[in-house]
Structures are given as structure tokens and as C-alpha cells.
Amino acid sequence: MHATDLIGLSATEAARALAAGSVSSAELFETYRARAQADRDAGEQGLNCFTWVADQQPPDAAPGALGGVPLAVKDLFCTEGVPSQAASRILEGYRPPYSATVVTRLREAGAPLLGKTNQDEFAMGSSNENSAFGAVRNPWDRERVPGGSSGGSAAAVAAGLAPWALGTDTGGSIRQPAALCGIVGLKPTYGAVSRYGMIAFASSLDQAGPLTRNVSDAALMLSHMIGRDPCDATSLQFPGAVSMPSAERLDGVRVGVPAELTGDGIEDGVRTAFEAALELARELGAQISEVSLPHAPHALSAYYVIAPAECSSNLARFDGVRYGARAQDPRDLLDMYTRTRHDGFGAEVKRRVMLGTYALSSGYYDAYYGRAQRVRTRIAQDFAEAFGKVDLILTPTSPTVAFPLGERTGDPLSMYLSDFCTIPMSLAGIPAISIPCGLSGGLPVGLQLAGPAFSESRMLESAHALERAIGFDGGGARV
């Protein structure tokens, strides 16, 4: 098959072609490998999606159901013997002695490692500008951000440099870059996927998920990711299997639209595309009603206490002792710690470590962390109440389309507001998916669907019906 035709296949189609023998896993891998390597070689002239690219197809690349569909993996997943530094200088040169459970599961299912993707350092950011490897560019407009923190994964899939990619989502880090790059991004229910081997940011929120060209690919990847892992005590047995979606209608599906996440702060072009998607949902048979998430406007505040608090604790392990970089000629132990961390962490990571340390310090704990955890309870209760009346909640994924590089780096709060619509679901631990629902000024707009815990299969069915009706063409981003 010609390389252009190979790139045109979705991951599901590629897996089918591999099974039928019309494509060989070697030619598929080499086609993508060459494209990924070319982007890496192009440096500043490319999109800067990859931090490492395989130099050949791994020998065990084509077992299992997938038969050898190459997988791009966010840098923060540990991959045995392959650089894994979460885009941080402090882990320079780190080659883990083990692989993350989810990477192993996907490899055993027949998705070999194509490369590691660029990201915001330790997944802290919404623009992929906080990276030791430099910013990633958006394939729809190179002067704009791809979103973050899984920006390299999203841009690589949108540009056709990888058939699909693995990302992580703490407050929107899969869904927001998927929206800004015009692809599909799914954050599973907290606990559905093992976190073992994911370099931790905020452990009560972090969750791995797929970034794909379409909804079927997301379902296919997720079906090979889920399940309890003895190495992650918070992982759970997924009830049932993830089914491959086929719905074309939404008859009988009750859809809720929360005023709190669809009003102020959503830019006009995004609102127009969102309202058109709602109209399509109605035409497909969905019953649309307003729901209330009264505490959702406080989610951002609660998140920016909880996530930095957990980050300051998790990142204490980066001290220059066991792995990564160490400051030269330390005076004593304390000097080694403080200078290693000064030199190794970027500005945003330092901000969050400081914020979290403050929020957890004695005298402030109750006012910040304690209160934020109570707000979290309220937010989860709001969703539980809403899901008593509706099956799905629809919102825009991001309040804006992709913004220009550099626009928000000087103002952390404006950057944080990018995740206004995605953070509430993260705090509640529920699954949510972003699918492209149109263009605004030539840039993709994302539609977010959220459902109750472990409702992934139902959510994917609805996303499939909507995707089909929307008919978004992602070809504009292909390089």
C-alpha cells in the first residue's frame, strides 16, 4: 500500500488491514516512524511533537488483537530502557528499569512504541509551552499552541505523525489539546486505568487515556487499557467490556446542558459551534434539558489547591539522589536538594510546588486543602444529582480555540482558565470525551460529553452518533 494511503487509515482500519494481511506491520511502522523522525529532525521548523522516536520496529511488534498499530506515548509514561523524563530537565537522561502497566498492556495487545511525545513539564500546563524540549506547535496554525499538557500527543495524531497516542488527563490534559487540535480525546473514570509507571502529578486526579482520530479508535484503545492492576491500589475492575460503538441515533438519550459551564467566558465562535452540535443532537433524537451544577464555578479554585498540594508532595521525590540530574559540587545535602530542584524544575512547576507547599503548611491546611476537599464533595454531589435526571452532560471542551504561542505564559491565571470546562469532571472522577464539532476562524472547536462513573461504553455510543452527524474533516491538519 502507498504511504499516503497508509496514513489515511484510522487505527481501527489499520488493525483490520493488518488482520486481513493487506498491510504488513513492518511497512505501517516504518511509514509512521519515518514521519515522526522527520518531525524530530526538523526541530524548530517542525511541530516538535516527539522527544524520542524508535529507530526500528520492535521485534515483538505484531501480536494480539491490534496486530501492530504503532503507538505514540506521552513522555511521562515510564518505558523500559527508553528516555522518560516528563519533559523536565530534572529527569534528564532517565531510562526507567520498567514500563508503565498501560504501556505494557497496549504493547501486548499489538500496539508497539513508536515514540515518546512532548508535553508540559510533569503535565503542568495547558499550552505545551512548559517543556524542557521547547513548545509544540498546532498543526492547524503553527503560530498557535496545541493545548496541553498532552500537546505532543494531540498534535502528532492530528498531523498524521502517529495513528493514535496515549496521554494523561489531570484537569483536562487530554480533552483540551484534543479539542484544540481537532481530534478525539477521552479521560476515563478515575480508577479505570492503572496509574502504575505514570510519573505522578496529582494522584487523586491523574488518569491515562487515548488521543485518537475518531471515536471508534478511542473505544478500541480504551478496551485494551482498562482493568485492575495489583501495582495500583486505586485501580478498579471495569464493569463489563468496552464495546465498539455503532450508534447513529440518540433516541431516548437525555442530554443535560449546565448553564454554569456554557455561559460567561465561552467565546462566540465556540458557542456557535456548541449550539449547532446541540441542535444536531436534538435532530438525532436526544432530549435536551438544562441541568444545574451550582458548585462548578468553584471547581477551578478547588483544583488549584488540590492539584498543587498533591504535586508538591509527589515531586518531593526529585531530589537528585536516585535518578536524573544533580547540581554540581554541593556544599551539603540541603544545598544539593535545593539547587538540584532550582536548576531542574521549570517556572510553572516551581509555582505549583510553592503553591502546594503553602496550601499544606500548618495553619493554612484547613483554610485551603481542607476546604477544597469539601468543595470537591459538593461538585461530585452536583453531578450525581444531575445524572439522576440526564444520561449525558454536554459542554464546550475549551472556552476558546487554540490561542497564539506566548499569549498566556506571562499570566498563570489566564492559562488556568483554559480548563474551566474540564476540571469539574476531573474532580468528580467521572469519564468525559472531547470530539471535534466544527471550526471557528479555521480552528477546531471541541465538544465535551460527560457521563457517570464507568459509563464509557454508553458515552462512546453517543459520541459516535454525534461524530457521524457532525462529519468533521480533520484533513486540514495533516502534514
Binding site: P97, A233, A302, V305, T338, A372, T377
Partner: protein, 85 residues
């Protein structure tokens, strides 16, 4: 606070850090307005209790593999500078 976080900050980093952190803290302070009396805290969204496994010895990472990524190692351990100069 930086000392507590084991983070050295250069003189010129202190003022912007203080300014940016104050802006974020002012924003998050909005949760002080909520009435949260009697609301229990959520530390984890999923109920996981008694996630125990049988206490059976099993192989772990070999020592030389665990030490291989360290900036300095020796005498079967990680080498660090003295706590007191």
C-alpha cells in the same frame, strides 16, 4: 516557603513568584465564601478499602538495576553529600 519546599530561588525570581502566587491565592480564596459546614472532605473519588494483597515474598528490582540511574552510587547504595558541611 521555598526552604520548606527544598527549592532555591534566585533573588530575581522572588518578586515575580510572590506576585503570581498572590494572584492565584486571591482567586482560590473564593472558596472561603461557600457554606461548607457539615460537608465531608473528598480525598479520593472512588471507594477503595482494604486493597490488600497476600503477604508473599516476590522478586524486586535487582540492586544494581535500581542504582544504575543514580547520579552517584557506591558501596551498594546511593551516595549523597554529608548533611553537614
Amino acid at each position: 516557603m521555598a526552604r520548606l519546599a527544598r527549592l532555591a530561588l534566585a533573588e530575581e525570581e522572588i518578586e515575580p513568584m510572590a506576585r503570581e502566587l498572590s494572584a492565584v491565592l486571591d482567586h482560590v480564596a473564593k472558596i472561603a465564601e461557600l457554606d461548607l459546614d457539615g460537608v465531608p472532605p473528598t480525598s479520593h473519588v472512588v471507594e477503595v478499602t482494604g486493597a490488600l494483597r497476600p503477604d508473599v515474598p516476590r522478586p524486586s528490582l535487582p540492586r544494581e538495576v535500581a542504582l544504575a540511574q543514580a547520579p552517584a552510587s557506591g558501596q551498594d547504595g546511593f551516595l549523597v553529600p554529608s548533611p553537614q558541611a
